[in-house]
Amino acid sequence: MGIAVIGGGVAGISAALDLADSGYKVYLIEKNAELGGKMAELAECKTGLSPRIVKIQNHPNIELMLSSELEGLSGSAGNFKLKVSGGKEIEVESVVLAPGYDIPDSVATSYGYGSPDVVTSLEFERMLRAATISNELKRQSDGKPVKKIGFIKCVGSRCQDNEICSTACCAYTAKEVWVVKERFPDIDVYVFYMDVRVFGKDEELVADLKDNYGVHYIRSRVPEVLPEGDKLIVKYEDLRAGKIEKLELDMVVLAVGLLPARTLPRLAELTGVKTDEYGYIETSISSPMETSVRGIFACGTATAPMKVRESVGLASGAALKAALMSQRTERIPGQEERKYIEVKEDEPPKVGVFICDNEGEISKTIDIPALAERVKGLRDVVAVNSANTIEEALKALESGIVDQGLNRVVFAGCSPREYEDIIREGCAKAGLNPYLVELVNLREQCAWVFDKNVTDAAFDILRMAVERAKRLEPIIVERYPVVPRALVIGGGISGMNAALDIADAGYEVYLVEKGEELGGGLRDMGDIAFPGGESASKLLKHYVDRVTSHERIKVYTKAREEDVRGRAGMFKARIVGDGVDEEIEFGACVIATGAKEYVPEGYYGYGSDNKVCTLREFEKSGKVQGDTVVIIQDVGPGLKEGAYSSKASNIEAVNAALKIKEENPGVEVFVLYREVKTYGKWEVLYKRAREKGVLFLRYEKPPEYKNGIISVFDVIFNDEIQIKPDMVILSVPMVPAEDNKRLSMMFKIPLKRGFFMEEQERPKMVLTPVDTVNEGVFVCGSAVYPAMIDECIAMSSAAAGRACVLLAKDFMETPAIRAVVNDEVCVGCGVCVQICPVEAIELTEEQLPVVTFGVETLVGGERRIAKVGDGCIGCGSCASYCPSGAMSLQHFRDKQVYAQLDYA
């Protein structure tokens, strides 16, 4: 049977690929004629998403059903029967729903929508794409260049029709503003907002926009936009002056909220899954991918409004959960042994050059026929082909290798960063060693950028590539078996959840916790509960019980991992702790070290005044003192001091305020805040807290606490307010685990602000939220940045899912680009040993034979030579430092670089 994935947007694509890559049969059902969903409509994102779409189209385990919709579903988990439009019927064991989102049909007329210069954010993405190409952002009404542009946030969200916050708008607006300022620095940009709810990297981006790009962020809910003459007049409230101001703009972008997909109600009806009061598929805090129907899972914006990063994370998690209910029936691609045509060193090169036009993108500036003609004249070039699409170019390439006996290939088209794997795979399939291919970036680094003589430049670049290709050598990679076990570092909620998911998938797990017991941050949260979720203490007990009783999880407490070696699929390490010193082997690793509360020593008398405590301290005790409680948000270091604002602290503060008020209606509760960051459905907490009478006072200058009185200048009342509190609760940032530094060195994953950096595929876009630069090592939860509990659970399932994709393989291949030593030349100086950033090189002593009358005798003494170990990551530092020229980096040998220099 298999698994059906419904929806071919970024979430559906990610879920389908994770499943297909681990050997499951996948039916991907998409209602449109093309994959990509909403993400493909975004200005920058289609380029990044395309390689995944190509991968899906060529995947042997995926049956793609485009222009298809679900028409019926019967049966139950393990045996669903699906009716798909066009009369097709499929049988699957589980289903993943990823229908995505839609934006509201109509926008309140007061925003001037209808004027051609007032557009929604999605329409603006299309304009941005066109503007990038034409290098001019023009008004749609009269074609005049835009000089002043305004972005209005929270249109169609946080309002009566849609009371929750749409989460993604703050970040996508920041991204759009960034693109505008990068492309058109002279355009004045104004952003009108209620709260800026951004976290992690987005928080840095917004700070950057304000400080370095000169973007005006104005806090005001804009009541109306009036077209007047050829201008748009935006009215807003200047809080400081306390009056209504007017601003003339050329163009207005409405950052519209997200709503459940229009297809969702019908999908819910057909599948029987429950939806919540906002129309999203109902899931819970502790099981964010599970729907009300067993065997049916949901991910992406079908469950709540969210960004791409979280959508992809949920998709990997949902894929894992769906896989648990299904049988693996297909082969995993790339696992078969490959035989390549032998290419001898002295064999004359026969180079084939393949130029892909990327559907007309390149021929706009490059005369491809003329280029091809000139390339034909290059020595050793025996075939030149130009194709319109990558699929056609790949076909030509394969037949060129098979029919014309090419032994070197030059592939020119879009950036190799996107299609490298696909093209190398194409060569391998045709029988040519995949490292006899040279890729040329004709689109991003030539056709799109050069301002003149583009065809000449393209010819130069191709000539360099042909010469380099001629000197490429086949690289034989070795295969090694994958150790089907995982190491999970950190025994908090994320670590425990990841361990459980991996163990449930059938792999053994080592769970290492440095503290005395499992639980991490959950232990500090007492009986606190979030709406619709279990209390922290119940959750803790549930998880600890399951982890400790799971037959495939081995728990180590008061222990830590040391001496990590090896690579994805075959890591080795030692677990050292209380009476334990054990050598372990594992194929994949999940880092879930979490974060902890900053200790606000010296802030508001913390430590000396017994009225003052932190949020987690309050949660743990659950005790309310006296009649007046003040919660102060954003205490302690902020972004400028190196900390991230924490999702957890922000939401828990509002949750705590509401809880205090609900349980003690007589108590006055004040929340002093800079921004209320109750994103997504958490907005309800904020709304409910206000309804119950919690008073929110917004400050810009931090409040003062002297002689038992808190004074705060509230910027909405425009007046100073004094409160005499009986209890002061400080909401402080969450800081990274101290151990992160040590782990970062050991696992070679860079940190940012003390948190682990996820791998980034392209600037400002995250399609691999839990992967890291070190293949086989995954990060999740608050080890990445301080996340909320539901996100910790979702992202740890994602990390577990990604780990399982790797563990499902029987074999992995050694990296092709790695350092190699010429034993005969090495003098054993040891420079490389010191240079190697990952300590992968060691000196070995070898007995030096003396040859007498042609007979070797082992008496000549000893000689030291360098040996490159498994840990080599292929940076090539050793090759450039080696004084004797013994060390080289495969695929980047001196002669290969020199060839490029000689023919530049």
Partner: protein, 143 residues
């Protein structure tokens, strides 16, 4: 490249970029359609740590009018500290290049994957700058 149709000097610049940051920034410059003159020929290395000073010397000896070296910002190297090695070696190389008056033809920059505009700007500045300096005196000479 030499001279264009009008007989104007068109410099030839070799650009060594690391795969993860500067090469990606060049891609971003492309996606953002940031125009710059067609003088640079990019050679992709995995890491700026792979930059052998010989590459730079060889480029200059071959007659390149300028050499650009791009890596990740300090502390953001994909390979932990390859860019520090590059920085150290370029500094050492400069002392030699100064002797030959070639120092002003070599420029290194840390450009991250999200700095497409910076990449294009650096390319433009370099082309202009080298045009002012004039052709590499070694061009066309057999050494």
């Amino acid at each position: 490249m030499g001279e264009d149709a009008k007989g104007e000097f068109e410099p030839k610049i070799i650009g060594f970029t690391c795969n993860w940051c500067t090469y990606a920034s060049a891609d971003l410059a492309g996606t953002s359609r940031k125009k710059y003159p067609p003088n640079t020929r990019i050679i992709r290395l995995m890491c700026s740590g792979r930059l052998d000073p010989m590459f730079v010397l060889k480029a200059l000896l071959n007659g390149a009018d300028g050499v650009f070296i791009g890596g990740c910002h300090p502390g953001e190297c994909h390979y932990i500290k390859g860019n520090f090695y590059a920085r150290r070696r370029i500094a050492a190389l400069r002392t030699i290049l100064k002797e030959f008056g070639m120092d002003n033809r070599v420029r290194s920059e840390w450009i991250s994957a999200s700095e497409g505009d910076k990449f294009a700007t650096v390319m433009r500045e370099m082309a202009e700058n080298i045009k002012k300096i004039g052709p590499n005196p070694l061009r066309g000479k057999v050494l």
